[in-house]
């Protein structure tokens, strides 16, 4: 990740610190994101999965609040033991507002063949919607399953497609959180952070957020919060650290997050070598087929 090519236009890297311990599950972030970014409806579906009816991040959901009901105590004593007998059955309700991680080494950006995905002067990762041709390669490239293609059913009043035989769906481009690039340009914080009533979503310069997160974690550990941990704050991880990182209360997979995400590009040099060898192998194999005679 580098904003060096921006020269004097480069800005300090910004991001989110999402502290799930103070999330109240109000979904103001989801709504604010939808309203500011004019995101179409993803449909209405009652899942029966606690209070979560959006289920996941996708082309039409750029902030997603996860709800987890767990038979675990919220706090444990210093030895990590459960609360003493005689207390009611432990139950906690975890809530987490998930978002694009704006990775230091972003799989989507590396995979994009058109240059539609780019690194902004703020160090964030954004899709240029006037360039994206909907090839879909970024979708499986993302280790978090964030970026997604928008394929909406066409309605009769939609303008005709340029090549009607080639498609029946509207849009066909990929979408994800822009970290409100337009708001950043205007000196405002992203809509979700602005709307968050408990400051569970904190926006700011990444260095400062990481320090703040460490202090917060130390405080929670001191108070005996069960399972408190930072997720994505380490620049040494498989994606070079997240631009949007989290304070969680359980293993990442409980929230639908990968425990050890690695950007596919990390293996690409070796993969290209394997491909070159396989190409040479193909050539040698066919040449051998001619060694037995030309006819």
């Amino acid at each position: 990740m580098s904003t060096a090519s921006y020269g004097a236009e480069a800005k300090p890297r910004v991001g989110f610190f999402t502290d799930t311990t103070v999330c109240i599950g109000c979904k103001a972030c989801e709504v604010a994101c939808k309203e500011w970014n004019l995101i179409p409806s993803g449909g209405l579906e009652w899942t029966g999965e606690s209070y979560d009816n959006t289920s996941q991040l996708d082309a039409n959901t750029w902030r997603h609040v996860a709800f987890i009901e767990q038979p675990k105590p919220l706090r444990v004593d210093a030895d990590g033991a459960d609360p003493p007998d005689g207390q009611p059955e432990p139950l906690r309700w975890l809530m987490e507002s998930d978002v694009c991680k704006h990775c230091t080494h972003a799989g989507c950006l590396d995979a994009c063949p058109t240059g539609a995905l780019f690194r902004t002067e703020f160090g964030t990762v954004v899709v240029q919607e006037d360039v994206c041709n909907g090839c879909g390669y970024c979708v499986p490239a993302c280790p978090f399953g964030v970026i997604d293609r928008r394929d909406l059913p066409r309605s009769p009043q939609d303008a005709p497609l340029a090549l009607p035989l080639l498609g029946t769906k509207e849009d066909g481009r990929v979408w994800k959180c822009t970290l409100c690039y337009d708001r950043l340009k205007g000196g405002h914080e992203p809509a979700c952070a602005k709307a968050c009533p408990t400051d569970s979503i904190q926006f700011g310069e990444l260095d400062e957020l990481r320090e703040r997160a460490q202090k917060r974690l130390a405080k929670l550990e001191g108070e005996g919060w069960n399972g408190a941990r930072l997720y994505g704050d380490d620049p040494g991880d498989g994606v070079g650290g997240f631009g949007a990182f989290f304070l969680l209360l359980d293993e990442p997979e409980v929230y639908g997050l990968p425990p050890d995400p690695v950007v596919p590009t990390r293996h690409l040099a070796r993969l290209w070598r394997t491909t070159a060898l396989a190409a040479a192998g193909l050539l040698a194999g066919v040449a051998l087929a001619f060694a037995g005679g030309a006819e």
Binding site: D52, E253, V254, P259, W272, A278, L282, G285, G292, A294
Partner: protein, 294 residues
């Protein structure tokens, strides 16, 4: 094995690609390996085989970009693939390889048909020959360079698997359309490709461990079984009775079907391994544990 998950939902997204993509993996493989078969046949003076491999390759090369454009979310923007050359994106690299290969092989085939401009045709043949092997193998890198567990974890085998299958199918296609007395190298290439494919598949399954079980399940499992049966039977026919026209044609067609089924098996396996969060979580947890224990 029980693994914590968020209501059993997938972590990585399933690809948005449709059947055009595995179909392209098949046509691109045929095009790439046919160019090699064509070039070597030309060098060795087997004109009957050279011509037919050239035409097979050109047809596959022309079909390939049409399939890819059709699969785009915005097909009218297909030219955006050529805004840049980007080595971090196998899709970008592959677009340029396909542009070179398709342009060269269709030019060479057209000039061959018309019987004109022999020097230009030869230049086009050289370009197509050079672009062939990377065209046949880069698609393995394309799928391996993702976060889909069953693709990503097979990154040491997929380019070999696709290269072997490309050799098998291009040899098979040439064996179908070439008179048997000129098709010896095509048959040998087809059989060698089939054997290599079987060996690489076995190695891939061994390395994948439990993630590879998707190749035994659902649509991927069905396609993998069809691929194995067709390729084995077809290669057997070509090897044992390939000097007679009827078994050569039957064997070649079976192998072409087997190669197509193999691409669909790999394709569907990717969806199945993305859908179940266990395939994402378990290998990553093992990686973390291995790192923590030093």
């Amino acid at each position: 094995m029980t693994t914590a998950s968020y209501y059993g939902r997938n972590i990585v997204k399933q690809p948005v690609w449709k059947s055009e993509i595995p179909l392209y993996f098949w046509t691109g493989g045929i095009a790439g390996a046919s160019a090699v078969l064509h070039g070597l046949a030309r060098l060795r003076g087997n004109e009957a085989l050279a011509k037919r491999a050239l035409f097979v390759g050109a047809v596959a090369d022309v079909a390939s970009p049409l399939l890819l454009v059709k699969d785009l979310g915005r097909p009218e923007r297909f030219l955006n693939m050529f805004r840049m050359f980007k080595v971090t994106s196998p899709m970008s690299v592959g677009s340029w390889i396909l542009l070179a290969s398709g342009g060269a092989s269709s030019t060479a085939a057209a000039l061959e048909l018309l019987g004109i401009l022999a020097p230009v045709r030869r230049a086009a043949e050289i370009v197509s020959f050079a672009a062939g092997p990377p065209l046949a193998t880069y698609t393995g890198a394309l799928v391996a360079n993702t976060s889909i567990p069953v693709w990503s974890e097979a990154r040491d085998q997929l380019p070999w698997l696709f290269g072997a299958s490309a050799t098998a199918t291009a040899g098979a296609a040439a064996a179908v359309v070439t008179p048997v007395q000129f098709a010896g190298p095509a048959r040998r290439a087809a059989v060698a490709g089939a054997v290599a494919e079987g060996l690489v598949m076995r190695e891939m399954r061994r390395r994948l461990g439990f993630v590879g079980e998707v190749y035994d399940q659902g649509a991927a499992g069905r396609h993998a079984r069809i691929a194995r049966a067709c390729t084995t039977l077809g290669a057997g026919l070509l090897a044992l009775a390939g000097r007679r026209p009827a078994p050569a044609k039957t064997g070649g067609l079976l192998m072409l079907g087997g190669g197509l089924a193999l691409r669909f098996a790999v394709f569907r396996a990717g969806f199945q391994s993305a859908r179940d969060p266990r395939y994402t979580v378990v290998p990553q947890k093992e990686r973390l544990r291995a790192r923590e224990s030093g």
